[in-house]
Amino acid sequence: MARKAVILAGGQCKWGVREAHLVDLFQEAAKICLDDIPALKPKNIDGLIVASSYAGRCSFQVNTAPVVAERCGLKPTSICTRVDVLCAGGSTGIILAKGLVESGMADIIMVAGGEKLYTPQKWEVFYSELASVDHDWDGAQGMGLPPPFFALTAQEHMIHYGTKKEDLASVSVANYNYASTNPVAQMQKALTLEEAMNAPTVVPPLTLYDCCPITDGAAACIITTDEIAKKFTDRPLVYIRGTAQVCLNSVSANFPGTHLADWKHTKIAGEKAYSSAKVTPNDIKVAQTHDCFSISEVIEVEEFGFCKKGEGGQFCGSKQIEIGGKVPVNTDGGLLACGHPFGATGIRQGIEIMKQLQGRARHQVKDADIGLTHNLSGANAEHTVLIYGRTPVK
């Protein structure tokens, strides 16, 4: 019988400004991950995929996987490597782990993502962001920190589709309120529309709560096959049904849409993931989309087909992303409120979808059986989508 990949367990350490080293954060996440599945021991894990993009710049550590393996008491024999796809690193680790366990090249893989971004002087992480975009072309134009790029994106969405600042603010309000009771979120504060509308300006039209913070943190999950998982748990199995990763450009001048609010590559990634998972947008009961900025979530709900193109502002503004809405989105708080330690984010999203599909989420979506996660990375240069389900693809 064909081997089918599942997400067996997961854990996230406290995210925020952490008084800890990068390898401390990985150890915390690995422990919380295994605490989630008491029958599974470090010796059962034969593979490790580490997702971290800033280990080299902010911790002066490349070849990070052996360091993490050793500190976490793992002795991998099938795979021990690191991936760097910035914000999509964790999701990429899960995609690779799926391929490895389904092919039989590995049995039980820990996918662990983490970043320690705050350095003793804070200028360094902001300055190092010049490496997050195409350094010589977009970085040298001052595009390292992303608010200007997403401010332009928001402006073009407003120009072409009539989206309002209130629509953006409604995304921040929804995601902050989801996170207000999440003990591992960076921002644990209920937010009103009035507060969001009156927040300090970052780059117009974006204000404070439209932008995700800089975050230290780690998360880890276990990817294995359904048959192996059954030996360790009685919980409902959560299958990784379909995946896609689409890259059509790197330099902003080659952006694939007709304007910055037309995310053609996101749409292609969604369609490919739906097709490989044999589902349609109407089947998605809960989603974790990449809300690095409020405008991102507005555009993502359009490109993934939760509403028509151009109606994302209205969709979010009319509470369709909240519990009871058409597709609750970022039910743990998303990047806006949980924070965004790049390599850990896709794992955080996968854990939340796993919990939703097992019926044990903090903000539970009733009868959730299919869920989606999504990341964008770089200056909107790459899109990664995973679709999880309670049953495997037939």
């Binding site: 010589d136 970085g139 117009p204």
Partner: protein, 165 residues
């Protein structure tokens, strides 16, 4: 010049902390782009086999993988489609206001070039305004040249600026 906390780096150049491209011929095969920029020309590569124009410049044609490329001039004037202004919290290395614009230079592949707008105060730029290429000096870097010793490699970079009315 001392580096706080790391006295061994006194007077040393850390390329890994340089916000600008390493443009020198010894380190970059698209050095002609930067040499052309020094002459006030905004250029990119065109494939002499299939005719494909790529931006930014390449060492192979991304369309047919030919290495038979030539540098061609791109327009130096364009129109602002949309722009953003950052007045407070401008990142290290850039001055306030940090203005970015999507600029239409009128030809592929630079119909939506995302660039910095310089020599422009906050609150002045408008959508549809005409802008032109602005080339400026950036810090020279020391390059080790074996027995010839270390030479300082001069550098320039570019942005766009409003056309004076």
């Amino acid at each position: 010049m001392a580096v706080a906390g790391i006295p061994i780096l006194e007077n040393l150049y850390p390329a890994t902390m340089d916000m600008w491209p390493i443009e020198a011929k010894e380190f970059n095969r698209i050095w002609p782009f930067y040499e052309n920029l020094k002459q006030g020309r905004f250029t990119t590569t065109k494939c002499k086999n299939c005719g494909h124009v790529a931006y930014p410049p390449r060492v192979i044609c991304p369309n047919c993988y030919s290495e038979n490329l030539e540098y061609i001039d791109l327009p130096k004037k364009g129109k602002v489609i949309v722009f953003s202004e950052e007045v407070r919290g401008v990142p290290l290395g850039f001055e306030s206001p940090l203005i970015h614009a999507v600029v239409d230079l009128g030809v592929d592949p630079v119909r939506r070039l995302l660039t910095r707008i310089v020599n422009c105060p906050a609150g002045v730029l408008k959508r549809g305004d005409e802008v032109q290429l602005s080339v400026f000096e950036i810090p020279a870097i020391p390059v080790e040249k074996g027995k010839a010793g270390t030479i300082m490699a001069e550098r320039v970079f570019f942005a766009f600026e409003p056309v004076k009315k």
